[in-house]
């Protein structure tokens, strides 16, 4: 695994994408097919399932280092990474053994059926035979949740250079639910035409946020505007009389949405649609919280189907009668899409409405009504645009409405993970309810590194109490918290759940007493909930 550990170090040591791609390419050039396949799987979040419980790993690690478990836990809170904490705390320094990456992965898969005792013996053997860096990489394979700061896009680029396959075609090959356990490098990368695998989705075309005024986009007649819905971006595939529903995160979600089964009858084979899946009832969209409760359930019950029925608001067609339409201009795709959706009789497909657009000023006005229409803003698409791969500038833009904001007091702080290790970066915010502060949101992003350091120093100096990794702090700092939506919630103390809360800015000008109140929050719920 030395070559893989070295690759990991190289990726970790640099922030420059060119260097990362070069390191990965030269790794691919030297690695055998099994190691290449597993590297692709690991870097595209297709690790083997976790085979050992992390509670056991903590126990064994502290025992092997002859340290009490509480001290291990404290160290973990500060290091912010379990695999790393175990690697650092373990006494062995030398590397005494080596296996290839794929052999280690197999070793990990083989741990799964073993008893706790047998697992312990094997894992301790590994820790005692690897050096600190190798141990860290092994633990990462074992525990999952790996961020190496290398996007799938860059991985694909390096692989394309190595395999001499065109990057877009490779992106397509790497989509879908392949597993390293059941395929080979040759099958995945070299041999098959991706279109042969009929469950495979197309890579999604993603929009950037519009910066500046829409006028800069040029002639308004070249553009199409639609509502931007807040649901799950998805792809519906009908091929070989079968239905596949993919999320943008490349998760196969067919079972979560049994409503779409009727589309196998309603749509012709060789159809791929792109759209937003949203809960929709009595002629209007429900909020995203409804969707969340639905997709978090393991089984979709009858009650859920009734209380949170879903539809797809379709806005694009990528394949028609088995033919890839992505190079066809959008206005032609739109005509095909309209004909198809109008023809079918199912209740689960709705055509995304094209908004009247005779001037940019009109559009600016329409955008201000987004929230009333339960939309998060607008999408702007060039009428003659092709359907591209990944996030690209130029032809598609998202233009969201400004978020809702509220001024809140920070009352708890927790240390972050990964890059934010050992810094208090995760905060809980509260609003006033009379004399009391009621927590209503957690947020951990939105501040600059400099601000984070200052807040971190404040937390350390103004700690009132500690509970494990959490500190309560004296309620002094006020932040403007921004969020996309607000919904009633019985699971939250404050009675509301926020959508995408984050820190908008630090209100250093505001004393805590002037933060917003629970009443203000309730008013927002009435207006926008």
């Amino acid at each position: 695994m030395k070559d893989f550990v070295q690759l990991f170090e190289q990726l970790d040591q640099t922030t420059k994408t060119n260097k990362k791609v070069a390191a990965l390419k030269s790794y691919f050039d030297a690695a055998d097919d099994m190691d290449k396949l597993w590297t692709i799987a690991i870097l595209s979040h297709r690790r083997p399932k976790r085979s050992v419980r992390t509670a056991l790993l903590r126990e064994w690690a502290s025992e092997a280092a002859n340290l009490p478990l509480w001290l291990f836990e404290e160290s973990y809170h500060i290091v912010g990474d379990l695999a790393e904490t175990i690697a650092l705390i373990h006494p062995n320094l030398e590397s005494k053994n080596d296996k290839s990456l794929s052999e280690w992965v197999q070793f990990i898969i083989d741990l799964k059926p073993l008893s706790d005792e047998e697992q312990k013996e094997k894992v301790l053997w590994v820790w005692n035979n690897l050096n600190e860096k190798e141990r860290f990489v092994f633990n990462k394979l074992l525990t999952g949740g790996w961020r190496v700061g290398l996007s799938q896009k860059l991985m694909t680029r390096a692989l394309a250079q190595h395999a001499e396959v065109e990057e877009n075609s490779l992106t397509h090959r790497l989509m879908g639910n392949w597993r390293a356990e059941t395929t080979t490098y040759h099958e995945l990368i070299e041999s098959s035409d991706p279109a042969d695998q009929y469950s495979k989705p197309y890579p999604f075309y993603l929009a950037y946020a519009l910066e500046g005024e829409p006028q800069n986009l040029g002639d308004v007649s070249e553009w199409q505007a639609e509502w931007k819905w807040d649901g799950i971006r998805g792809q519906i595939i009908i091929r070989n009389n079968e239905l596949f529903v993919w999320s943008r995160g490349e998760e196969l979600m067919t079972d979560k949405f049994p409503e779409f089964q009727e589309l196998v009858e309603a749509l012709p084979n060789g159809t791929v649609l792109d759209g937003e899946i949203i809960p929709f009832k009595d002629g209007k969209p429900l909020n995203f919280a409804t969707m969340q409760t639905r997709i978090s359930r393991k089984n979709v019950s009858k009650a859920i189907l009734k209380s949170a029925p879903i539809v797809m608001i379709v806005y694009d067609i990528l394949e028609f009668e088995g033919k890839d339409l992505r190079e066809t201009p959008m206005k032609e795709r739109r005509q095909i899409l309209e004909r198809m959706v109008k023809k079918q009789k199912s209740g689960t497909l709705m055509l995304s409405k094209v908004l009247e657009l005779d001037s940019w000023n009109k559009l600016i006005e329409v955008r201000t009504t987004s929230r009333e229409n339960n939309a998060e803003g607008l999408m702007l698409k060039r009428k003659d645009s092709t359907y591209k791969i990944g996030r690209k500038k130029g032809d598609w833009w998202k233009w969201k409405v400004d978020p809702l904001t509220i001024d809140a007091v920070m009352i708890y702080a927790m240390r972050g993970h990964g890059r934010r290790a050992n810094l208090y970066t995760d905060y809980t915010f509260a609003v006033w309810d009379g004399e009391k502060l009621v927590p209503f949101a957690k947020a951990y992003s939105g501040l600059t590194d400099k601000e984070i350091k200052r807040v971190d120093a404040f937390v350390k100096k103004n700690t009132v109490d500690k509970f494990g990794p959490v500190r309560s702090v004296s309620p002094e700092l006020v932040f403007e918290v921004a969020f996309e939506g607000i919904a009633k919630s019985s699971r939250h103390k404050s009675g509301v759940a926020l959508r995408f809360p984050r820190i908008h800015r630090w209100r250093e000008d505001k004393p805590a007493a002037e933060a917003n109140t629970k009443e203000d929050l309730m008013r927002m719920l009435d207006d926008f909930g």
């Binding site: 009490p68 509480w70 001290l71 404290e74 290091v79 904490t85 705390i89 700061g149 972050g416 350390k460």
Partner: protein, 334 residues
């Protein structure tokens, strides 16, 4: 009455009316070392080690009232004997041994156990009560011998030089910068220094301590002057406009915090080298045992965790809060 107590002004010896590293102005301040959080402004009189004196004067003004003494020397005030022992932290750093009628306390300031080949190496001092920092008081902090770290730094510098790049390495101006300067292989190339470091070097050289040759980074210099060279800079200079004068370069940092991947990554560095002037986990535990003390007082760092650990080990330990910057200072000043 304890021999030393913790007051709102600092570590106080009432019998002698003397403070050690006070954080508020007092009449008589004994200083463990010249870092800013230990030798502060405003005291009427300072007593430090010889090698700290010129640095403190440079920072606080030539007009302060300051005297100095050697390791092993002592001074008796109202029957209380104060003496200095090497702390191994930076040049001139001292542990302050305080003795009265056979009772001995040691205020160790900041310290490390490894001999860095530049400052006087740490000497354990037997005592009844040991006052210690614990900046890196967690078992994840284990240092490698510095020879291995310098081999890594030299290899990195050589590689950068071969690629025609400059090498920028960050370490704080007093202590780490000189340790780097004396630890690297000067045959690889030219060594440049940021102004803040060059100033400190000048003071050290004026004390008669020799340092490897360095060149001050001057505004008039051209990009190509720096090709293949090593540039030592304080962490605060990273990302500032000061760097614009350099050709293509890689950036590294030498600090104990580089042990943790998250800290290393958020500094957006090309390389992080684990090199600290503070004791690691093993060092802290070894140092405490070597004092054979009956009681430990921890002052800064992961104090809650480290004191709990020591108490569990059967070593009576309490935490006193101070204004020394253990946990606060992050990478800037370890």
């Amino acid at each position: 009455m304890p021999l030393l107590q913790f007051t709102e002004k600092g570590i106080y010896c009432k019998r002698a009316n003397v403070y050690i590293d006070p954080w508020k102005p007092v009449d008589y301040a004994i200083i463990t070392h010249a870092h800013a959080d230990h030798s502060r402004w405003g005291n009427k009189f300072y007593l430090s080690h010889h090698l700290s004196k010129p640095i403190i004067q440079h920072r606080l003004g030539q007009d302060i009232s300051i005297e100095s003494m050697e390791y092993g020397e002592s001074r008796t005030i109202n029957g209380v004997n104060f003496s200095f022992y090497p702390a191994g932290h930076i040049i001139g750093s001292a542990q302050v041994r305080v003795e009265y009628k056979g009772e001995i306390w040691v205020a160790s300031g900041d310290y490390k156990l490894e001999d860095d080949g530049f400052c006087a190496p740490f000497e354990p001092v037997k005592c009844n009560v040991f006052i210690t920092e614990c900046t890196f008081g967690l078992p994840v902090f284990k240092w490698k011998p510095q020879a291995e770290v310098f081999a890594e730094i030299n290899a990195w510098w050589r590689k950068n030089k071969a690629e025609g790049k400059a090498t920028v390495l960050a370490g704080y101006s007093l202590g780490k910068a000189q340790r780097i300067l004396q630890g690297i292989d000067p045959s690889i190339g030219k060594v440049f220094n940021h102004g803040a470091i060059e100033k400190t070097n000048e003071i050290i050289r004026n004390m008669g301590v020799s340092l490897n040759e360095t060149i001050y980074v001057e505004p008039k210099m051209k990009k190509k002057d720096f090709e293949g060279s090593l540039i030592i800079a304080p962490p605060g200079a990273l990302g500032s406009s000061w760097q614009k004068k350099f050709p293509a370069y890689e950036v590294g940092m030498a600090s104990g915090w580089m042990k943790v991947r998250g800290t290393r990554r958020r500094e957006s560095l090309d390389r992080g080298f684990v090199l600290s002037d503070h004791a690691d986990w093993g060092g802290l535990n070894t140092a405490i045992k070597a004092t054979e003390c009956q009681k430990v007082i921890v002052t800064h760092g992961y104090t809650d965790i480290f004191s709990k650990w020591l108490n569990n080990q059967g070593i009576e330990t309490t935490v006193e809060s101070t204004e020394f910057e253990g946990e606060m200072n992050e990478t800037a000043n370890d």
